[in-house]
Symmetry: C2
Subunit: 198 residues, 2 copies
DNA sequence: TGTACATCAGTGAACGCGCGTTCACTGATGTAC
DNA sequence: TGTACATCAGTGAACGCGCGTTCACTGATGTAC
C-alpha cells in the first residue's frame, strides 16, 4: 500500500491548487509561474510534475473548483428564490452570476481564457458544469413558455444565458464599457423582465 | 523634405499591417511573431521598430482597421434597413455584427483579447469606435422608448449591445456552446424582438 | 555639374530574459526474509 | 527485531527554446557649397 505516499501526493495537489487559485485571483491566469507555485507550496518545481501532467492540467483543476463554487452560488440563489415568479428566479440567478463574477473576476475569466491544446477536446466535467448551470435556467423557461418545443426552449435558455453573460462581461470589463455594479443589475433586470414577458 | 523617406516608411507600415492582419486572421493574435512579419513584409526585424513603437502598437493599428471595417458593415446594414421598424433595424445591425464576427473571428477577437500595458489607458480611437457603434443603436432605442430619460436610454443601448455581443460570442465559441449560425440568428431575433416590444 | 558631408531607413546578429519541463540524483518509506 | 534492498516522491540545476527588442553598422538619399 502506498497509502502514505498517496496521501502526501494528494496534499501536495491541494497545496498547489490553493496556491494557483490565490495567484490567479491576485494577478490573473496569464501570470502563473511554475517557480512561484513551487515556492508557495513549499516544494521544488519538479514536484509539480509528479502531481500534475503540466501547468495546464493544474489550471484546469482550479477551473474545476471555480465552476463548482459558481454552481453552488447559483444554486443557493435558486433555492432562496424558490417561491417567486419565474422572472424573479431568473433575475436572482443572474445576480448570483454577476456577484460571483464580480467577486472572483480573474478566476471567472480563467474559465473562458484558458487556451486549450489545439484539438477542441473540452473535458467532460466542463460540459457537465455548463449543463448544470443551464438546467437551472431551463425550469423557469419551461414554466414561462410551455408551448415551445424542447428545441425552442433549449435555444431560449442559451439566449438568456448568453445575454446575461454578455452584460456581465462587458459591464465588468472597464476597457470596453466599465459600468457601476448597480447599473449592471439594472441592465440584467431590464433585459430579463422584458425577455420573460408573457 | 523627407518626402521620399516618409513615403517608404508609410509603405512599410502598410505592408506590416497587412501582414499582421493576414497572420491574425489565419492563426490569431497570440501567434504573431516579429520575425514572421519581417519575412512577410520583406524587411528586417529591426525595421519594424522604425515603423512602430513595438508589437503592441502594430496590433493596435490592425485593430483600428478592424474596427473601421466592422463599423462600415454595421453602417451598411443601418442604411439598408432604413425604412424598416426600429426592431428590424436593430436586428439588421446585429446580424451585420454577427456576420462580421463570424467571417473575421480571430480579428474580431483580437479587439477584445489584446492585453493593454497595465494602466487601463484605452486609446481614444477605441472609445470613439465603440461610441460610433452605440450611436447607431441609440436611434431605434430613442424611437422605441421616447419616455425614457437619456440615462435610461444609454443603459438600454448598452444592455442591447451586450446581449447581442454575448449571444455572438458564446455562439461562435464552440468550446462553450458552439451552435450553428442559423441558431445564432434565431437567438438574436428572439431576444431583440422581445426586448423591443412596446 | 560635381564633391563632400549628413541623415536616417534598413540590416540582422546578438542580447537578455523568461519560463515550462526534464533528469540524474537523494533520501525517506516500505517490503522481504 | 534487524538487515538488505526496492521504490518512488522530492530536489533543483540545467536544458532548450522562443521571442521581443537593441545596436553597431551599411548604404541610399538628400543637402550644401
Amino acid at each position: 500500500m502506498a497509502t502514505k505516499a498517496e496521501q502526501r501526493r494528494a496534499e501536495l495537489r491541494d497545496k498547489l491548487v490553493s496556491a494557483a487559485e490565490a495567484r490567479i485571483r491576485a494577478a490573473g491566469v496569464s501570470s502563473l509561474r511554475a517557480r512561484d507555485l513551487a515556492k508557495d507550496a513549499g516544494c521544488a518545481v519538479g514536484a509539480i510534475y509528479n502531481a500534475f501532467d503540466d501547468m495546464t492540467a493544474l489550471v484546469m483543476a482550479v477551473n474545476g473548483l471555480t465552476f463548482q463554487r459558481l454552481g453552488a452560488d447559483v444554486e443557493a440563489a435558486v433555492a432562496a428564490s424558490a417561491g417567486g415568479s419565474a422572472t424573479a428566479r431568473l433575475i436572482a440567478m443572474s445576480e448570483a452570476y454577476l456577484d460571483f463574477a464580480s467577486a472572483n473576476s480573474r478566476l471567472w475569466r480563467a474559465l473562458f481564457d484558458l487556451e486549450l491544446p489545439e484539438d477542441g477536446a473540452v473535458p467532460e466535467w466542463y460540459r457537465a458544469a455548463l449543463a448544470r448551470l443551464f438546467s437551472h435556467i431551463a425550469d423557469p423557461v419551461a414554466e414561462l413558455f410551455p408551448e415551445q418545443s424542447p428545441e425552442e426552449q433549449a435555444l431560449t435558455v442559451r439566449a438568456l444565458f448568453s445575454s446575461v453573460h454578455g452584460i456581465v462581461l462587458l459591464g465588468l470589463e472597464n476597457r470596453i464599457s466599465g459600468v457601476p455594479p448597480q447599473d449592471i443589475r439594472r441592465m440584467i433586470a431590464l433585459v430579463l423582465s422584458r425577455l420573460t414577458v408573457r
